[in-house]
Structure formats: C-alpha cells, structure tokens
Amino acid sequence: MTGVSDVSVSLLPRHPWTAFCVRRSARLVLSLGVVLTASFAMIRLVPGDPVRAALGVDAPPALVAARRHQLGLDQPFLAQYRHYLGGLLHGDMGASLITGTPVAELVRTRLPATLDIALPAFLVTLAVALPCGLVAAVHTRDGRRPRAELAFTAVTAGLASVPDFVLAAGLSALLAVGLELLPVAGTAGAESFVLPVLALSLAPTAVLARVVRVEALKVLAEDYMRTARGKRLSPARRYLRHAAPNMATAALTVAGSLLPAMIAGTVLVEKVFAWPGIGSAMAQSVVAQDYPVVQAMVLILGTTVLLAGLLVDGLLALLDPRSAIREM
C-alpha cells in the first residue's frame, strides 16, 4: 500500500501536466485563429462598400479606388488573408481610413492606457470581493442572521445590476462635477484613475462576492470543517487555513470569467471618461465607420481576453493541479 502512494506522489503530476499544456495551447491557437479570421473577415462582411461608407458619398471615385487598393480589397480573397496575416507579423495593421494614421501607432499609444485601468480594476475586485464573501458566509452559515443574509443579498444584487457605463456617467456627474472632488476625464495624475476603476470594478465585485459567499458556505458545510471544529482550532485558523484554500479555485475560476467582461467593459467606460484607451478608440471608430481601426481593436481586445484567460487557467493549474487539469 505504501509503495503505491509513494509512486503516485512522484508520478502523478507528470503526464497530466503535459496533457494540460498541450490541450491548453491547442485551445489558445484555435481561439486566436478565430479572432484573426473574424477580425479579417469583418471588413469584408460589412454591408455595402466600407470605403465609400467611411469617406462619404461625395468622395471622388479615384480616392475611393485608391483606398480600396491600399486596403487590398481589390485582390482575391485568399491573397487578402495572406497579406493581412503577413502585415500583422510585421506590425502592420493598416491605416485609418479617415485620418490616415497607421493603426499600429494607435494601438501602441492606447493599449497601455486600457491596461492601466483594467488590471487595477481586476485587482480591486479580487481584494474586496474575496474577504467580503468569506466574512458574509461565516456570519450567515447554517441560516444564521437571516436579516444580514437578506441585506447582503439585496445590496449585492443591487450593485451587480448597475451597468458600468451608467455608473460611470453617474459618478462623473456626482463626484467630478457636482462635488468637484475628482478629475472628470483624461489621465492627469493618480486621482484620474479612481473613477474609471471604480466604474469598472463595482458590479464585478458584487457578483464575485456573492459567488465567494456561496462557495464558502459549501466549504463550511464540508466534513473536514467539522473535523477542524472537532480539533477546537481557533476560528482564524479554521477559516483561513482550512476553508480559504479550498474555495480559492472556485473563486478564481469565476474571477477569471469576469476578467474578459471587464476588458470588454472598457469600451463603454472609456467613452464616458474620454479615457485615451483601446475602448474609446473603438467606440469612436465604430461611429465613424473607420473599419481598419475597428478591425485592429477587435483583434487587440480579443487577443487580450484570450491571454488573460490563459493567465487565469495557468494560475488555477498551479493552485490546484488536480481539478484544473481534470477539467481541461
């Protein structure tokens, strides 16, 4: 018996890890392929002539033809795709139909600004939701304090249903304009980060706190928590050492699923705060029908989301090798 366990200790992780990495990479490649193809196809799928739409009906035909040629729209489909991928490899994402500036330049200046608010928002969400959910679970377990449970449920339900862009508009009206406490828009100084981060993280925090509470309640009802009670360990040891590690996986899984939504949410929030990021660039170019820019932004946002997912899955695999690998 002992021999079996010794062998399993050393051999167990090896094969599954390889399988995990292979499968995860395969999925990433497949998803990246989807993003690339979708962003490429978008400009070709748009109803009507995208160049004419962007330049307006009065544009001289010569200019339209020139832009079409510049975009490669007059070439065969496969050649266009090859050209597109080749361009991407060299960092060439085309140029804006309207301003003519290279899109790559736009991405280089704007991507950091978006990450500057998306990442802090994610960290704030984790830092607030995890303790809140755990504390709420400890206080309302076994149907105790039904009033506190109701209050937690109602408040988080309320906060979770606040749309980020509505919150953004409200916050800017209240705090920035009404009370003149914080900057309204732009990236001037640390204070200017407060409102966008708050707008992005409030609803996800409420959602995550609810999930953490439910997960924590499940863990607290487990047999091993009764064993820990039987040992009469201190509450701090029981909750932090015995309960917390067992809910980390579930909490992080949900948090990981919130991250892409948060990145997508930057589109609307950046528009409200005129934040010079990917999102606001996308919002502007969508309205202006500046398709090369939209195309690039879809590609960048999609890739960011996929890489974030990879990060979370890797973290999960490190934290809890068994379940993460099994679920792949």
């Binding site: 018996m1 167990l12 094969h15 599954p16 690998i325």
Partner: protein
C-alpha cells in the same frame, strides 16, 4: 426463458491518467431462469459490466449473447432490440426515478416503450404492475419525492419489469437501503424471479445479500472474475484466496463475544496478506 452469456467482455475508459480497464475479459453464463450473483468491492468493475451489458457503455472487446445470438448496443436501434429483452435496475433510489414524473407516468412510459396500449389498457397495466411488486395502487399518482427509498426502489424494479424482459440486471439495488427495507426488497426480487421465470444478474458488494438471492455466485476482483461456483459450494469450499479473504471479512452476527476463542462458522481461512493473523474480534 432466455439465457445470457457474456463472452470475454472488456470495458475501457479514458481516465485522467490514461486508459483504465474497468472490465477485463469477463466471461459469465446466466442460464435461463436462474439468478447469478456477482459480488465485488468498489472499483472491481461490476457496475461497468452491468452498464456494458445493457449498452450504456460501449464494449471495448468481447460479445454479449442472448439465446445464442449476439446482440449489440451501439445504435439506438440495437439498444431498442436489447432493451426489449434485457432490463436493469440501478443502485441509487434518489435518482432512480425522474423527479418530475409520477409513478404512473414512469410506468406508462416503460409499458408503452415497445408496444402500443390504449388508455384503459395502460391504467390496468400500471395497476397490475404495482400489485406485482406489492405496492399500494394509490401510490400511482405520487411523485418520487413523496415515496420512501424502499418504495422508490420497488417502482424502479416495476419499471424494468413493465417491458416484460427475459433478463433482469440488478445493480446494487439494496446497498442504499436500511437493513429492514433491504430484507423486503430482497424477498420481492427473489419472489419475482421465481414467479416470472426471469434470468437475473444480481450485482452487489454485500456478500450475504448476494448469496441469499443467487443460485450461482461469481466473485469479481480488479476487473476479472476470480471464481464462479454454485452458492453453497462457494460458501463451503472457496477456492480463490480473494474469495476466502472476502468470506472471512464478512461480519457474522452470532460470532462469539470478544475474548473467547472463536469457533469458526466457516472453515478456518487465511487472513489477508499484510495483516496480522488475528481472529475477527
């Protein structure tokens, strides 16, 4: 009456650490009208075998033969052919019945699976079936959660019998029940087997319960059948060391109290390897 023969049946799964052979070349003969018991511990592959026989798990090798003709379970058509002849009852009374269907709906679905019945014939059939297993006909309009575990298990047996199968496979049907309920389900299943002339494969981990209903007992260990013998012969003179280990491990009610020398109710048997040679006390 129908005989079921399993011929070198093998079942493999894709486990998390590579393929797992759950059932490894099992051959077993269930003669017409007899009950064959299959006993084994958890992970021995006995439930995988049951699922494979009724076509719920694909065979990785071997054949299943009903009355001399090979049957398969790969397609819905083959499964329908098989289901008309072979039915199964599972272990868990909690999930045995669809929680949203009344007993009547469950039984009607089974009774009409292979033959058309008009409204009156259906309700007569349901009443007759409930009577067969000794259930109050007033239970027909109850939902599963309004029944006790023993009642649910009886309804599950009734559902299997509703298609009038020739072969019944009972997979751990009493292991989730209390002993007093287990006794009445065992009585029922034994009476039905004799009354209807069923060929039955009775699977369980509780050796006394399996022996009680079976004419022949097969012992399964790590995917293989290690011994098959008529019940009395198996109890009197077990051949395989694993069978002996199993028999000595079964607690016996009228064993002598601790401290006194044990008079073996069964032939003195070697203890399990890696265990101190002690009497069960």
């Amino acid at each position: 009456m129908t005989a079921l023969t399993l011929c070198q049946v093998t079942v493999r799964y894709d486990g998390p650490h590579g393929p797992v052979t759950a059932v490894d070349g099992v051959s077993l003969d269930i003669p017409a009208g007899t009950t064959v018991g299959l006993v084994g511990e958890s992970g021995s592959g006995k439930s995988s075998l049951a699922r494979a026989v009724v076509g719920l798990t694909p065979l990785s090798g071997g054949r299943i033969i009903l009355d001399g003709r090979e049957v398969g379970g790969r397609t819905v058509r083959a499964r329908r052919h098989l289901g008309r002849r072979v039915q199964v009852v599972f272990q868990d009374p909690d999930t045995a019945l669809d929680p949203r269907m009344t007993v009547r709906q469950t039984l009607e679905e089974a009774a009409t699976a292979f033959r058309r019945l008009d409204r009156r014939a259906r309700s007569e059939r349901v009443a007759g079936l409930l009577d067969l297993v000794g259930l109050d006909p007033r239970l027909a309009d109850r939902l599963p959660r309004q029944l006790s575990g023993g009642q649910r298990q009886r309804v599950a047996i009734t559902r299997a019998l509703a298609v009038e199968p020739d072969v019944l496979i009972a997979d751990e049907i009493t292991s989730a029940l209390d002993v007093s309920v287990q006794a009445s389900v065992l009585n029922t299943i034994r009476r039905l087997q004799r009354q209807l002339g069923l060929s039955m494969l009775f699977i369980g981990h509780n050796l006394p319960a399996v022996c009680y209903v079976s004419d022949v007992v097969a012992v399964m260990h790590r995917g293989r059948i290690v011994e098959t013998a008529p019940t009395t012969a198996l109890l009197r003179d077990p051949q395989h060391p694993y069978t002996r280990a199993l028999l000595t491990s079964v607690p016996i009610l009228n064993a002598p109290p601790p401290g006194e020398p044990a008079a073996p109710a069964l032939p003195a048997l070697p203890a399990l390897p890696a265990l101190p040679d002690e009497k069960l006390s």
